[in-house]
Amino acid sequence: MRIQVQDAAFDLGAETERFAKAQDAAGAVVTFTGIVRNNADGTLKCMRIEHYPGMTEKALQKIADQAQERWDLTDLLIIHRHGDMVPGEMIMMVATASKHRLHAFEAAEYLMDYLKSRAPFWKKEMTADGAEWVAAKDSDEDALSRW
């Protein structure tokens, strides 16, 4: 299991390849990648992600531990960036490995659902018109109720 919180960009291809290659007992690897998406008007200059150093790592560790308890995983990876990112840049990724494809899929969805609403990250969008904090979605909070 590896959890990384960092300002620097990460190499999705290399991370995915390394993760999958390290699996000799798992038949199934699932990854999720979050990418900075432009707004509807195409005016997004930059996405700034603030976080709570110390709590972030603890919260991600707790979410990862819960996923490992709940599903039969042989490995998992979480990388989440903070700082400034332009549209198209990758914000974060999770990867899960299991013998069973359903376990790998469900664990990755669980990690994402909890990471969205329980890990202390906050997004701010900087556009030509100014800066605005991204509001949490009710649907993200609701997503937790399925687990």
Binding site: Y52, M55, I91, L115, R118, A119, P120, W122, W133, A136
Partner: protein
């Protein structure tokens, strides 16, 4: 006690952290103390449904006890991922 603020809470209050001496026994009592201090606090804490609190880096509730707590954090709902 260390009190830390994130995202728009930090921006409205105008600082990322401060050291406070308080007799507040619960988070809610601390919030009342802060609200009474200055307008910018009253504004930041006007709608608690838009706020979350963490005690020593664990998510908690506004009615939680501050007994033994060294760091209180206030911030809006999280938007990671």
């Amino acid at each position: 006690m260390n009190v830390v603020y994130f995202a728009w809470v930090r921006e409205r209050i105008g600082l990322p952290k401060e050291k406070l001496s308080t007799n507040a026994k619960t988070v809610m009592e601390l919030v009342e103390e802060l609200r009474a201090r200055e307008e910018r606090y009253a504004v930041a804490f006007s709608d608690l449904s838009a706020l979350r609190v963490a005690l020593d880096q664990e998510l908690s509730d506004f009615d939680a006890s501050l007994n033994g707590v060294t760091e209180v954090a206030f911030f809006p709902p999280m938007t990671g991922g």
